[in-house]
Amino acid sequence: MPKYFLRRLLISIPALLGISLVLFTVLALAPGDPFEELATNPNVPPEVRANLRAQFGLDDPIPVRYLRWVTAMVKGDWGFSFVSRINVSTLIMQRLPTTLFVLGTAQLLGLLVALPVGVYSAVRPYSFFDQLTTTFAFIGFSLPTFFTGLLFILFFSIHLDWLPFIYRADISATGWRWAWEMARQAIMPITVLGLFQGAAMTRFVRSAVLEVVRLDYVNTARSKGLSEKATILKHVVRNALIPVVTLVALQIPGIFTGAVITEQIFRVPGIGSLLISSILSNDTPVIMSITFVFSALVVLFNLIADLVYGWLDPRISFR
């Protein structure tokens, strides 16, 4: 297996290079200019912009800029933002904890809802409970988060005035008060995201369990007198979860890059809102870093998913 791991890792290097080349070229060719505000302000002489373009190396040809970017990236230097002129890594590290907290909790919430509900409705297919959850699941993943988000704000913040709808990463209180404030402001974005994820995952868990529950070995387990609980938990769920684990592993990169729309609605200062504001201001180094890190994580977690798969299912071997 180590040999397999190493080979996969080596294969991913040209893949990542290819990805970065495509990203870089697309961004370099895209219209727009990071110094737009300088251009539209009549008080700023054009030399200032020319000077900045030269200082930031924007006047060099694209291949030169790409090579410079790659060499810096290999050395661990992600460059600096054209807009705020600070290092991209600092910018990302400032926002990562918030994104991890909100999206991680949401993912966890989704799983906590999806697993029991999905398993239970698969064990009793077409029962009233199953019908009910299926209906809700369909509603859940057909409503986009920007809609449920606004609905939540309208109801809980404006109509009832219970919850704040502006998320602040650094609340000045401490201790229990901090925890309380944090919970109050985080509950809406987390629920919106968690339920959306949970709805889709419930359907997935249900179908995975449904497939396994009909198999002969489950009947064997039952007929040899195992309790229903043991049959389901030990024999059915364990096998049914293999595809679910893969799915979850592939969703993890998304946790790092944030949820663009939900973060925007609730003003959650996460990676997603950083990405969108960078795109709007043509801040290429930041866009490049975030998208590239995202693709690197996708490649990595694909590999991890494959490894976990083999560990869960011994029939799969690595060659």
Binding site: P31, G32, D33, E36, N41, P42, I158, P269
Partner: protein, 596 residues
């Protein structure tokens, strides 16, 4: 209005027949700025008006938290890099200029002990030197004293081209010397009628020498104080996350007594304008929200029984339509809208006049902008006897038809006018923005009735307002017949603003479309007036020249003003503050307080 008209008006103000504010507003309507109007009054010896806001708190602090909302968060806190207003506002929490512009365009001293005038000897008669005296006992947040050395350093810092300060134009041609520990002399390269630019307002925030000296020029990006400002302002730095939040706390050694009122300040960024308005007006979660580009109807609905209100302050931003004087459809030497061409029909004054008559400003204001866009009201609202006939607007399709008929533009079988094989078909471009698209529709409909066919084009704002020399869709390329956008005139002097009509500023391939003259209109009389105004020291004569220049652009229908866009902010009901259209939102942050 000429010089005599202006003098008469000033006499009215002096005699109390016309209010100061009324005069200032009238001047703004004539294309001038409030600071310029105030300067005229000052030169005539009319006393400065006191600020309206009375500061009531009798001790420093105790006001709790002040929470403000900017839907675009501050991205940097060095005032010399702060091109965007959001960054200027963020910096202004911590840094202060020598003086600020109040709503009526008066200078109000901040770090200066007094505003330099001819009377107190601060200004020289020849208009070339200014002496600024600074307040005593002002401290930087780190306890070091604020002195003349800091002011001199700021000039060196900003004037260095390698620093790439956005306000370099203000500093590069002046000289600043220290007289003593608390006064400096500013020497201007030539007699400058409008001298109050360096160290004033958003271009004049003073940064500390002891922290920035090692990072002058090319190394300016590396200064740690870029992210952790140490200023003289009412609040000290606590935390900054670019694009998200700026936090400050009360400065216990602030140089004005009993100020500030709030214990902490927070400037939160992100989100959108509508929900920002909602957080202040409807739920009261925040105290202040910046730049509400929200339809007035929505704002009105929020205001009913809400916890806050909308505050509207006039500034100089004008949404206007520009006519292209060159041919955008013919390519000459790899350039469209080249100055070597002539527009096939917009070069005919009759067509431009017709166009001017089909823009229904009243309808645009009423149904689109509401309180947030005033149909260049000042041309209309000024008392009739001062109103310049040449700059009156009207909406009259019949008259447009008459003018076009008389000029020989005959309607074809499809109802579109033509003359000599040229059809009155034009492309009307602007950026993507709901209000702008509605305005386009209103204009297009009326133009259709006058036999002018308009094709509507809208470009994403990030492309339209970019400086990309390779993209034809940017506004300086002007590759269409007419276009519409807002020019912001927050700068206190109209000189640069008017630069946009001089013949040497024509935007072209040669200057990579960085010239300011977008319409490519050229007029000898205008050029002459502009040059004359540059050295005119009498503020009244100078104002008359600018009014004349403004008249020229309106008479010749180079541009068609649509609406004046005032500043729209949301304020919690109990928060007391005063807005100025000529300076940062935080121009007098030290005076903000909350009524019990």
């Amino acid at each position: 209005m000429d010089e005599y008209g202006l003098k008469e008006l000033i006499a009215h103000v002096k005699a109390g027949r016309l209010s100061r504010r009324g005069f200032v507003q009238m001047m703004v309507g004539l294309g001038l700025t409030a600071p310029m109007a105030a300067q005229m009054l000052a030169s005539a010896g009319v006393a400065q008006a006191q600020s309206k806001l009375v500061y009531k708190p009798t001790k420093r602090g105790g006001g709790g938290a002040l929470k403000t909302l900017w839907w675009q968060g501050a991205t940097l806190l060095n005032p010399y890099f702060a091109v965007g207003t959001k960054d200027q506002d963020g910096s202004r929490i911590f840094y202060e200029p020598l003086a600020s512009w109040d709503p009526d365009g008066n200078l109000s001293p901040v770090l200066a002990a007094e505003v330099p005038t001819l009377q107190n000897g601060g200004l020289s008669k020849d208009g070339k030197t200014i002496v600024w005296k600074m307040k005593k006992d002002v401290q930087w947040h780190d306890g070091k004293p604020f002195t003349a050395d800091d002011v001199v350093f700021n000039w060196e810092y900003a004037a260095d081209p390698a620093t790439a300060a956005w306000c370099i134009a203000t500093y590069k041609d002046i000289k600043v010397e220290k007289i003593d520990a608390l006064s400096v002399r500013v020497t201007l390269a030539k007699p400058t009628p409008f001298w109050a630019d360096a160290f004033v307002g958003v271009r004049g925030m003073i940064i500390p020498k002891h922290l920035f000296e090692p990072f002058k020029g090319g190394k300016s990006r590396e200064a740690p104080a870029n992210l952790k400002p140490v200023g003289t302002g009412p609040y000290r730095f606590v935390d900054f996350k670019p694009g998200d939040i700026v936090k400050g706390e009360l400065n216990p050694t602030y140089h004005m007594p009993n100020r500030p009122f709030f214990d902490t300040i927070e400037m939160k960024g992100g989100g959108d304008a509508v929900s920002a308005a909602r957080a202040v007006i409807q739920t009261g979660e925040f105290d202040y929200a910046w730049n509400l580009q929200v339809e007035d109807e929505i704002l009105k609905r929020m205001e009913q029984g809400g916890k806050g209100k909308v505050d509207i302050v006039a500034g100089g931003d004008i949404e206007h339509i520009q006519c292209n004087f060159t041919d955008p459809w013919k390519e000459v030497d790899g350039e469209r809208s080249s100055i070597k061409t002539k527009h096939p029909f917009l070069s005919d004054p009759a067509v431009r006049q017709g166009l001017n008559l089909v823009v229904d400003r009243a309808a645009i204001q009423e149904s689109i902008y509401g309180r947030t866009g005033i149909s260049t009201a000042n041309y209309l609202n000024a008392p009739a006897r001062y109103q310049s006939k040449s700059t009156k607007w009207e909406f009259n399709v019949d008259k447009a038809n008459q003018i076009l008929d008389a000029a020989g533009w005959k309607r074809g079988s499809d109802g579109i006018r033509e003359k000599g094989g040229v059809k009155l078909k034009m492309v009307y471009q602007t950026s993507i923005n709901a209000s702008r698209q509605k305005t386009q529709a209103v204009v297009k409909q009326a133009a259709g009735k006058a036999g002018i066919d308009m094709e509507i084009k809208s470009v994403t704002a990030s492309v339209y307002f970019s400086s990309d020399p390779a993209n034809l869709d940017t506004y300086p390329h002007f590759s269409t017949d007419i276009q519409m956008y807002t020019t912001t005139m927050t700068q206190p002097d109209p000189e640069l603003f008017m630069n946009a009509f001089t013949s040497w500023e024509v935007s072209s391939k040669e200057n990579k479309w960085q010239g300011r003259n977008i319409t490519r209109w050229r007029n000898e009389e205008f050029d002459k007036l502009y040059k004359a105004a540059e050295g005119e020291m009498d503020p009244v004569k100078r104002a008359a020249m600018y009014i004349k220049m403004n008249d020229l652009t309106i008479q010749n229908v180079v541009v068609i003003p649509v609406v004046l866009r005032p500043r729209v902010r949301a304020i919690a009901s109990k928060l007391r503050l005063e807005q100025s259209g000529w300076d940062s939102d935080f121009w007098n942050l030290q005076n903000w307080y909350r009524e019990a």
